[in-house]
Symmetry: C2
Subunit: 429 residues, 2 copies
């Protein structure tokens, strides 16, 4: 294999892809099973060339890709695998470091700590928190709730009905019980309904998945402190917004959390997967997870990343976040986040001004919840129609029992023209 030539070809393919992703149908226009049927049912006996692989990626896989990199991907939480992040993933794979203890990868262990501290500075978080990287917020939440169970000895997890499903999944995994609290008219956890008797943890959300609502963290923190309950803040999406001081109103009280998760793979231009987990109580995570067997015991007096979460092996994920922060700089990150918020405001205004449509939840960041003044079925039909057109990809949620459309802005390539086109496509549908 000629790694250098194959590598140039892969870079060319990736560069061309990013150049033309704008022209591809955003949602993959394929039927289940269609793609698999085009590929051989059995592996090859003899080696094929990487060029063969690249050809099949282009011809067979690409039509089955939903283009998260498209500027008109407006579903879920739109994100960006930015260029420096992509190349850092290449470097990380080339180094192939597995950082279960310091010695097996001093560079990755120390860069992870540094990059978490850098990000804490960017987001205005306390400087003395311990941070590490998990693959997804699901795993960070599992780690936080395991620590909460460890230190409180209790088994109830409290969150709002609008918390992400990963909270209930984590609790179920940990043999804990989830207690869901109602939300107020703006989809925020209603602290008057909080009953912390026998609770191990409260998961407060800053930027819920449906509407990006911000739970009243200061009031929740007061109650958690009084009751000796672990406070985990899920700011997976909205935490990245804190790079802009004017959006830090949503950070109130977060400095009092026991743990916090923020996903740079959501809104900080870092390729998936990269979920940051901070805690002011690292000893609790350590107590929940540390178990160093003889075959990895060393005399190195250092912190081992595998002591803070469920996975033992860890790849060099900090490299991509570090590369992104350096290649954007604080200003570059702020500029793009601000532009996304501006575009969302613009779209919100268009919807608001059109009597055939309505806004369904307050807009806090870069996500707009809206619907046409029509039945649920008609709104669902609109969604299916615009997604099948390939011009845009949006998702939905359900609020107060009604089917609601969501437009999420988070891709670095998204322009005002893209958002205008989304509005045009929606009105046509």
């Amino acid at each position: 294999m000629t790694f250098r030539e194959d590598g140039y070809a892969a870079v060319d393919w990736a560069a061309d892809y990013l150049d033309r992703v704008d022209e591809l149908p955003v949602l993959a226009q394929v039927r289940p099973g269609e793609t698999r049927a085009k590929l051989p049912a059995s592996p090859p006996e003899r080696a094929e060339s990487f060029a063969d692989v690249l050809r099949d990626v282009d011809e067979i896989l690409l039509p089955a890709v939903t283009h998260w990199q498209s500027p008109r991907f407006f579903a879920y939480f739109a994100n960006t695998g930015s260029e420096p992040g992509i190349l850092a993933e290449l470097l990380a794979a080339a180094l192939n470091n597995v950082a279960f203890i310091w010695r097996t990868s001093p560079a990755s262990t120390e860069l992870e700590a540094l990059t978490l501290d850098w990000t804490a500075q960017l987001l205005g978080l306390p400087s003395d928190w311990h941070g590490n990287i998990e693959d997804t917020a699901s795993l960070a939440t599992i780690a936080a709730l395991a620590a909460a169970r460890e230190v409180t000895g209790r088994h109830v997890v409290v969150c709002s009905t609008e918390a992400h499903s990963s909270v209930e999944r984590a609790a179920r995994l940990l043999a804990m019980e989830t207690r869901k609290i109602p939300v107020d008219a703006e989809f925020r956890l209603d602290p008057s309904a909080l009953d912390l008797e026998d609770a191990a943890a409260v998961v407060a959300t800053v930027g819920t998945t449906s509407t990006t609502a911000v739970d009243p963290v200061p009031a929740i923190a007061d109650m958690c402190e009084r009751a000796g309950v672990w406070l985990h803040v899920d700011a997976a999406y909205a935490g990245s917004a804190w790079v802009c001081p004017e959006l830090r109103w949503s950070q109130a009280g977060v400095e009092r959390a026991d743990s916090l998760v923020v996903n740079p793979h959501k809104w900080l231009f870092t390729p998936f997967d990269c979920s940051l987990h901070w805690t002011r109580r690292p000893e609790a995570l350590h107590a929940a997870f540390s178990l160093i067997p003889e075959y990895v015991r060393t005399s190195d007096a250092t912190d081992n990343l595998s002591d803070y979460g469920p996975a033992f092996g860890r790849r060099f994920r900090s490299l991509k976040l570090w590369a992104v922060i350096r290649c954007y700089g604080r200003e570059g990150l702020q500029q793009r986040i601000r532009e996304h918020v501006r575009l969302a405001e613009l779209f919100e205004q268009w919807v608001h001004d059109d009597p055939d449509w309505e806004i369904c939840a307050p807009r806090r960041f870069s996500v707009v919840c809206f619907r046409r003044n029509a039945s649920d079925e008609e709104n669902e039909a609109i969604l299916e129609r615009v997604n099948r057109s390939g011009e845009i990809f949006i998702s939905h949620t359900r609020l107060n029992g009604r089917y609601v459309l969501r437009l999420a802005i988070g891709n670095a390539r998204t322009t005002e023209d893209d958002v205008r086109r989304a509005w045009d496509v929606l009105r046509r549908a």
Copy 2:
């Protein structure tokens, strides 16, 4: 940013790295904290170039890298991030797909299923198992034990004293209790000591971490069947050996397992992380994990990968395994595994023939456990000396209370000369 030029530079750096990794000290020759101190304590305000990042990777991070890609990395389970796998990671990052449901990434969802089926064929596993990719064996084991707890309603996990620490970590996470069974003289779980009363699951290991011992899976499977206990087989390392028919003696009984984990990032030339989890009872995993919230509900009648494990989001990990299988072919994989086993046999023979050294456990695959006929302290000093020399990197374990050295062969670049050099370095030390 000029992605294409930066990309060529990153490929050049990676190509040069792989060319010269042979000449670099295998174990990073740095002190804790030294690397971090060379990097700025705060993130930049303005954008830097990717060339700046690449320069710092080369000048500051590289000396702090322990070279898993070195042909003389003989510690833990030596592995390989092979060239097609590295480039596939670049493509996966460029596509940045997040496959929590089929619709968000049909290509990744279907390629994952196909690649797991291809690998099952390569390894001679049942053709009707359901497979998916987790980041590490830790997570696959967590998923398996969660399914076992779900279907049995019981909370005891049984494994041998030689099982990987991830089993106990997983059980602790799941609020289950671990019961450890003694091993026989060859470090295999002793089935006569198995008491399955109230057991939810047995974890049998094919290729233990310390000595690569193979638990008697057929006898364990008999007992599990009778007692209605879930059988999870941890073949994280040795499972890859099954690509060679002559090594499938170690697969006896595995076809009767409820679940199985094999890590291509260990011995199938795939960059970390890529852990394969198969089950013949997908409905049990589904019952333990599935929880589809409204905001990702679709009318697509398909399998969702997030229903089979703890993480909700998933990256496009199948791409690298698929690329590796294609660029090696069955023959290429077999040839390299056979060469690793041959080199381990050779080293074993040298140790065996030298009266100053002894073999400490039967060699089954490509790992040799040995020690000098001297005190534990002297053996530990040998290990520290050879590792500090940078010429080779080995690790240790403890068997029957004694400190034992381990030489693990698993890097695609390792030659007979490298193994001979390891033996020379060890004898000099």
